[in-house]
């Protein structure tokens, strides 16, 4: 049913575009290639795509509480200042313990998610979140954790944990969050 609906939507959509193009073409303003008539279904035909360099998928990582509950008190979120990716002393203290746990439990791999508060621009925050994640990774590697056990991803401001609009909420959202596998 859902699929049927989707293809309906797609057909209507293509049709609407065809309409635009066919009219424009009649007026001689846009040239029309052959592709408009050939496709109707989403993802139709053979598309060439590039593979992601890192074969590690973010979805393979789970919350620490789910995977190794006893480690949860160690893998606490670390917080950042406004528009900053510098590690504060509390953050370093947390990372010291995280490094210790990772050196002890060598089977664990960690995904560091970098997050931002929602006051900035989404795009800029995606870049900032990546730096926050990398700050923590760099610190862990300096403490002897192998870099191929530590992965990073940025979600910018897309996944807030506190949706209030005040200093406390913003501070909670400016964080690195750990996932493990």
């Amino acid at each position: 049913m859902k699929r049927y609906l989707m293809s309906c939507v797609t057909i209507i959509f293509i049709a609407a575009l065809m309409l635009t193009v066919s009219c424009a073409t009649k007026q001689g303003t846009r040239s029309q290639g052959g592709s408009a008539t050939s496709g109707e279904a989403e993802e139709a035909g053979i598309g060439e795509g590039e593979l992601t360099e890192s074969e590690i998928s973010a979805s393979a990582f789970k919350e620490v509480t789910e995977r190794e509950a006893e480690l949860a008190p160690i893998f606490k979120n670390i917080k950042f200042g406004y528009d900053s990716f510098a590690l504060k002393s509390e953050a370093k203290a947390t990372l010291d313990k995280v490094a210790e746990a990772l050196l002890r439990k060598t089977a664990i791999q960690v995904m560091i998610e970098g997050h931002c508060d929602d006051r900035g621009t989404n795009e800029y925050n995606l870049a900032l979140g990546q730096r926050r994640a990398n700050s923590a990774k760099k610190y862990l590697v300096q403490l002897g954790v192998s870099s191929n056990r530590v992965f990073t991803i940025s979600y910018g401001e897309e996944k807030p944990i506190d949706t209030d609009q005040n200093e406390e909420a913003w501070a909670n959202n400016r964080r690195d969050h750990f996932m493990i596998r």
Partner: protein, 435 residues
């Protein structure tokens, strides 16, 4: 079945009068800032004999044209009720009482005659007259599905705009944007006036930053659909989607080169420091443009292909910079404020729009030499993600002034701000299609 459906959709546009375009008069000078709005009247369309107009399309189509011209900011729409319909016996020159039109101050009139061909098929004749001289300017006949009545009306709005201003009308353009539903975001498309919304992606993931290719056939975007924020291109007509950048770290903020062969983007690779790159679409070749400890993000190509505007935090806060692609020289464009981001180069090459923090986020424009700056939105929530209309006369942006993020459009001087989206979910990152 499908084939028939598509065939049915094709509208035939026929010029019903030979166009006498040898020396067309420009009625409205859109470059002149002092020009007053051009008075025009658009009465409800006449109905031909035959099937009844159950959906009131004669009125609705006149309404679409009215709203198009009104939003453009160059027209003063006169109340059609000021004309006694008895004086408008038909839709052609000899059926109109021209002296009455001049009394109400109309300088142009649009007439329409609608016939309902079948349950879902209409034909409409539309004409534009110079009301002062009682002279025919242009006329078109359209035939198509009743469901497409808005598109048909937009086409004639383009025709009116073209004939009266000498510039191409953009009333058939579309706007792509992000909409968040539950914790996912997907790309949607609407007509420029917010009607006719269609979904472009459905990935149960975060899909961000739509960017139209210059030919209007492809949309580039970032999606987390395979885990990492990678860059994809989707062909709108076929639905074909391919990943074009899946480097470690972020693959975000696409901006197409004017020739459509390259995409400027932001990559962080393995050290997390985001830099601007140019990706050649065909062979995936990468050229690195910036090399700085700071965060560099959000490139926007200049329409002459010579420069790229981008955001950098190299001064300590995010500001707007331009980079000369030939000399690689970087110039800082904004100094005021502490947070200026999301630059977009106007299609006419004259200016750059961006969002800056000043009592909340607001939309600004700055001349490309950095000398002239103008704030377009004031004290109405956060206003972000500007995107130019293809004629550089209008901007789309997102605003949370109603409590939910919605897409707005406005004239490039900040007037005529109009919300075009509604319904559930925050909407952001509008991208105005090419013409």
């Amino acid at each position: 079945m499908k084939k028939k459906l598509i065939l049915n959709l094709v509208i035939t546009v026929l010029l019903i009068f030979p166009c006498s375009n040898a020396f067309s008069k420009v009625y409205i000078d859109i470059r002149s800032p002092s020009s007053t709005r051009f008075p025009i009247v658009i009465p409800e369309f006449k109905k031909s004999e035959g099937l009844t107009d159950k959906n009131n399309l004669a009125k609705k189509m006149a309404g679409v044209i009215t709203r198009d011209l009104d939003f453009s900011g160059f027209f003063r729409i006169l109340d059609p009720k000021a004309i006694d319909t008895a004086l408008l016996k038909g839709v052609t020159t000899n059926k109109i009482k021209w002296d009455v039109l001049s009394i109400i101050g109309a300088e142009a009139i649009v007439t329409g005659r609608l016939s309902i061909k079948s349950q879902n098929r209409i034909a409409v004749e539309l004409r534009l007259f110079d009301a002062l001289q009682g002279k025919f300017i242009t006329g078109k006949r359209y035939e198509g599905k009743s469901d497409d009545y808005r598109q048909i009306a937009h086409k004639f709005s383009n025709e009116i705009f073209d004939r009266l201003t000498g510039q191409k009308g953009g009333f058939s353009t579309k706007i792509a944007f992000e909409k968040s539903i539950d914790s996912n975001k997907d790309i949607f498309l609407t007509d420029y006036d917010g009607k006719n919304e269609k979904r472009l992606t459905l990935y149960n993931s975060l899909t961000l930053s739509p960017a139209w290719s210059p030919d209007g056939r492809n949309i580039a975007f970032t999606s987390y659909k395979e885990g990492n924020p990678d860059l994809y291109i989707k062909e709108i007509f076929t639905g074909n989607t391919r990943k074009i950048s899946g480097k470690q770290g972020i693959n975000i903020t696409p901006s197409w080169s004017p020739d459509g062969e390259k995409i400027a983007l932001t990559l962080s690779l393995n050290n997390g420091n985001s830099e601007i790159y140019i990706l050649t679409v065909k062979n995936r070749e990468l050229e690195r443009l910036t090399r700085n400890w700071a965060t560099d993000v959000s490139p926007s190509w200049s329409p002459d292909s010579k420069n790229i505007a981008f955001v950098s935090s190299r001064s300590g806060n995010p500001h707007i910079y331009t980079l000369d692609l030939k000399t690689k020289k970087i110039k800082r464009l904004t100094y005021k404020g502490t947070y200026n981001t999301a630059p977009v180069w106007s299609p006419d090459g004259q200016k750059i729009a961006y969002s800056g923090l000043n009592n909340g986020f607001n939309i600004f424009i700055v001349s490309t030499d950095g000398l002239l700056k103008n704030q377009l939105t004031h004290r109405q929530g956060n206003n972000e993600d500007p995107s130019w209309s293809p004629d550089s006369n209008y901007l789309a942006f997102s605003s949370d002034r109603t409590g939910q993020k919605e897409i707005y459009i406005m004239r490039a001087d900040g007037t005529n701000q109009k919300k075009i989206t509604s319904g559930r979910g925050n909407k952001s990152s509008p991208a105005w299609s090419p013409n």
